[in-house]
């Protein structure tokens, strides 16, 4: 191993050694000698590799046949079940996999076992020559000079101004992508219509809920009466107006004075739309009286007017004031007093307007 201790620094390639201490480095010994494969020396091994490649290509043909048989023999008629679909899907996958893997592994095996495996070294050429670079710089300078843009600032500045303003129409034509928000987010369909209070109805069938049906510990998913009969914008309204209805022991609720008459006999209704980013707060823990949003785990405490006790939400769920009408059905005495769902820039203004 003494031939490596000659102490000559390695200057092969373009590696500059700026910032490095100039100690002797190992000399690059060059590409390792090529080793012959079995198939290079033994014709029988080569023949064997050839047969293996052919076998792999053959398995691809089998795969194609499997696909075609599965495609035509399995009928997705009216009486097909999910089992039929699954079976066909599995066979189509198996067929395609064989067809593709057969070709792929065959070619790769062919390349690795039979094609020449000599590693070659090729010179890297510089991306550009110094001569080209200088010529290019000169050309750019000449072009800029001939336009005279540096000498005539009036032209330059007016052009810049024009170009800066020209995209405005392009922005403007996107103005009709949607309506202006106005105060649409501030109201839901719980607002009394023509003096008639909206009944609370079951989600999804829409039957109204009697106060007597709500036992302690139960929870209802609620929509406003009349939502299911809507044709236009039904989902838009539903996305704002879904409500969770729960009944607790009245002494477990601790309503603030201004919300004293928002509950009926321990029955409370809260917006189901999370104040974080709007997922439905669908999980009710009966024992702890916590509401949990399954998307990001915001947790609200029913006994503290749905205050946030954990998770990324920052505001309590809005409460829907409820009462009972003459027939014993639960009704909303007014709309929510604040916009439901995630926060938005104009929300505070809408809260003020709603309460004015």
């Amino acid at each position: 191993m003494g031939n490596h201790s000659d102490g000559s620094p390695n200057h092969s390639g373009t590696v500059a050694t700026a910032g490095q201490s100039e100690v002797a480095k190992f000399q690059d010994p060059g590409i390792p000698p090529h080793r012959l494969r079995l198939a290079d020396t033994d014709p029988r091994a080569a023949k064997r590799a050839e047969r293996q490649v052919a076998l792999l290509f053959g398995s691809s043909v089998v795969g194609t046949v499997i696909f075609l048989v599965a495609y035509f023999a399995i009928d997705l008629g009216a009486d097909s079940t999910i089992g039929t679909v699954r079976l066909q899907n599995a066979l189509l996958g198996l067929g395609t996999a064989f067809a593709m893997l057969g070709i792929g592994t065959g070619i790769v095996h062919w390349a690795k076992a039979l094609m020449p495996d000599h590693e070659v070294s090729e010179e890297r050429h510089a991306i550009r020559t110094e001569e080209d670079r200088q010529a290019a710089v000169r050309i750019v300078d000449d072009i800029v000079e001939e336009t005279g843009i540096k000498r005539r600032p009036l032209i330059r500045n007016t052009l810049l101004g024009a170009v800066a303003l020209a995209p405005l129409p392009a922005l403007a034509i996107f103005g009709d992508l949607g309506p202006r928000p106005d105060d649409k987010l501030a109201h839901t369909m719980w607002a009394p219509q023509d003096g008639k209070l909206k009944r609370l109805a079951r989600d999804p069938d829409g039957t109204p809920i009697k106060a007597a049906d709500v036992t302690i510990g139960s929870a209802f998913h609620v929509i406003p009466e009349g939502l299911n009969e809507m044709h236009e914008g039904k989902l838009d309204e539903k996305a704002k107006s879904v409500v969770l209805l729960m009944r607790l022991n009245p002494e477990e609720l601790n309503p603030s004075p201004e919300r004293a008459d928002w509950a009926y006999n321990g029955i409370v209704a809260y917006s189901k739309i999370c104040t974080h980013v709007g997922c439905p707060v669908a999980l009710y823990e009966q024992q702890t009286h916590h509401l949990l949003c399954p998307c990001h785990q915001s947790t609200f405490d029913l006994t503290q007017q749905c205050k946030v006790i954990f998770g990324p939400a920052s505001r309590p769920l809005p409460q829907l004031p409820i009462a009972v009408d003459s027939e014993g059905y639960l009704v909303a005495t007014s709309d929510f007093h604040e916009p439901v769902g995630p926060s938005y820039w104009e929300r505070e203004e809408h809260v003020r307007n709603n309460n004015a």
């Binding site: 390639g13 066909q88 066979l91 070294s121 992508l177 838009d236």
Partner: protein
């Protein structure tokens, strides 16, 4: 060029059939120059170079399967009643988009297969782009002259996530609808224009009736067109730069060592396309992905627990989960000047992703400034030989993984029977200390591996054979390396910190001082490659017994 092409062409007559075809094409379009340039172009070979290929091939599979799906998918959000063959949803009110997605799954022959191929290929596409970028980062392949190609790669990563998300939303099922709802909530938190952007995107209030068709146009036209454009630029630059190669004997910054494009490299790369396709087909055949029929049509009221977004959105969703909405008694959402600032949504949605992509896009220039290394690099670094860069990469990767894990906090809690709140508290802590720990551990591991390399280079490989010498001493026999293997362990640069350099006016300005400090931090812990003199000394130490080396520590940590 000249009008007398035909008589001239008979000067050279190709003898083989392949030659005649080549000649025919060449006389019409003049491709011989291209063939001469590329036919035998040398490509270095390494398994880690295949991630980029996987990305390219899964994109081709996406184009093929996606085209099939467009023939049957209808992006309308009009209300309809399901009349297909999946009985549990019979007569259920739903959008035409969801209904046609169900038809693709149950009533179009091979439709379910194509849907699953498309979805698996999409997941694989984003994954392979990400892993490819990690490979490029950790091996330093982004260094000059490849900085711009690194940026194109970053744009491709963003585009691939955009393609994934727009596609994920199209079936209009319950799960994807909830995903859109979250996006809507995030958009609404943007100051000043958030509400308007939300209304313009959804054509009114959420969910409206236009979002699916708008996303569809983005998904099948705009985003794929941009991806294609970026891929063309990416590959063009690969050709201009030629591929990087791993360090080793015979490889340096002035050459490319590998196999010629034709036939070996082309065969391997071409064959690999079929292998990727085959594996995707196998997954599509046997592993269900996104069973939309289980979720039902989108409805703003129900939601199922334990649902997950596609993996690449996970880190943003996880960040949203980690952010507390109330700290102590302080509401993170603030009302200033009569307007709402939802920092509890805005910060986690924008800041981590913003930091990750800003650092990603600027890193080549940051490192170049710190190291003042303006040379071209075509030989890659082994990650251990650039300990600080590797540690930075692992810190970022760990940060990403913590956020990603947070997206499954509920599943972690149920699976390991721990409290959900505790999982969140731990992940919040890890969000801050995880990257720091990762940085320190990675750097130490890299330095330890370098020392190990030194030891092996100087003393050879441990053979596990114990020999008793005549005077009773036991030693383990070390086998010396051949010169090629040794060169792989010693043939790297180990730059030392670069002190502040005065500028043209002979002044060391503040910026330069800062750079020198960062350079100190970057390179202060270093293990120098073994030198021939050290090898000589190591051999001489043992009285010329070349094959028998004591396992005595000869580590020299130079500073």
């Amino acid at each position: 060029m000249s009008a007398t092409t035909t008589p001239d062409a008979s000067v050279f007559v190709a003898e083989t059939k392949g030659g005649r075809i080549t000649d025919f094409v060449d006389q019409r379009v003049g491709g011989s120059g291209i063939l001469r340039e590329f036919g035998r172009k040398v490509f270095p070979d390494h398994w880690s170079f295949m991630f980029g290929e996987v990305a390219l091939y899964s994109f081709v599979i996406l184009l093929l399967s996606g085209t099939f799906l467009t023939f049957f998918f209808d992006p309308s959000m009009a209300e309809t009643r399901y009349a297909g063959s999946y009985l549990p949803l019979k007569n259920v009110e739903m959008s035409v988009a969801y209904s046609s997605s169900l038809d693709i799954s149950f009533d179009v022959r091979g439709g379910l297969f194509m849907r699953q191929v498309h979805h698996w290929a999409a997941l694989l596409f984003v994954a392979s782009v990400s892993v490819h970028m990690l490979r490029v980062f950790f091996t330093g392949a982004f260094r000059k002259p490849r900085e711009l190609n690194w940026v194109v790669g970053g744009v491709l990563l963003i585009l691939s996530m955009a393609a994934g998300f727009t596609g994920y939303s199209l079936p209009d099922d319950l799960l994807s609808g909830n995903g859109l709802r979250i996006i809507d909530g995030v958009i609404k938190s943007i100051p000043v224009v958030g509400t308007y952007i939300s209304f313009f995107l959804f054509g009114g209030e959420f969910p409206g009736t236009v979002i699916i068709s708008r996303l569809y146009m983005l998904h099948i036209l705009l985003v794929p067109a941009l991806i294609l454009l970026m891929i063309v630029m990416h590959l063009f630059m690969v050709v201009v730069h030629k591929h990087t190669q791993y360090p080793g004997p015979g490889r340096n910054d002035g050459n490319v060592v590998g196999y010629p494009l034709g036939p070996v490299y082309a065969a391997k790369a071409g064959g690999f396309f079929f292998i990727v396709f085959g594996v995707v087909a196998l997954m599509a055949g046997f592993f269900t992905i996104n069973p939309i029929w289980n979720y039902g049509p989108y409805d703003p009221s129900p939601v199922s627990a334990g649902t997950q977004p596609d993996w690449y959105i996970g880190f943003v969703d996880g960040a949203l989960r980690l952010m507390p909405g109330i700290i102590g008694n302080w509401q993170v959402e603030q009302v200033w000047f009569g307007h709402v600032f939802s920092f509890n949504v805005l910060l986690p949605a924008l800041v981590p992703a913003g930091i990750i992509f800003t650092v990603l896009f600027t890193y080549p220039w940051i490192e170049r400034w710190i190291t003042r290394d303006n040379r071209e690099h075509h030989v890659l670094d082994r990650p251990r030989n650039a300990p600080t860069r590797t540690a930075i990469g692992m810190a970022g990767f760990t940060w990403y993984c913590v956020m990603w894990a947070a997206a499954g906090s509920d599943l972690i809690a149920t699976h390991f029977h721990v409290a959900l709140n505790d999982v969140t508290y731990w992940l919040r802590a890890l969000f801050f200390i995880g990257p720091v720990i990762a940085f320190i551990v990675t750097k130490r591991v890299a330095l330890a591996l370098q020392r190990k390399d030194r030891e092996i280079a100087l003393h050879g490989r441990e053979t596990g054979r114990i020999v008793r010498l005549p005077h009773g001493e036991f030693i383990e026999v070390h086998a010396p390396l051949d010169e090629y293997k040794r060169y792989k362990l010693v043939g790297f640069e180990s730059p030392s910190p670069l002190p502040a350099v005065p500028n043209d006016h002979g002044v060391v300005d503040k910026k330069e001082k800062r750079r020198a400090k960062l350079s100190q931090w970057f390179f202060e812990d270093r293990v120098a490659p073994a030198t021939p003199a050290e090898l000589e000394a190591a051999h001489g130490h043992h009285g010329g017994h070349e094959a028998i080396e004591a396992a005595e520590s000869q580590k020299t940590l130079s500073r």
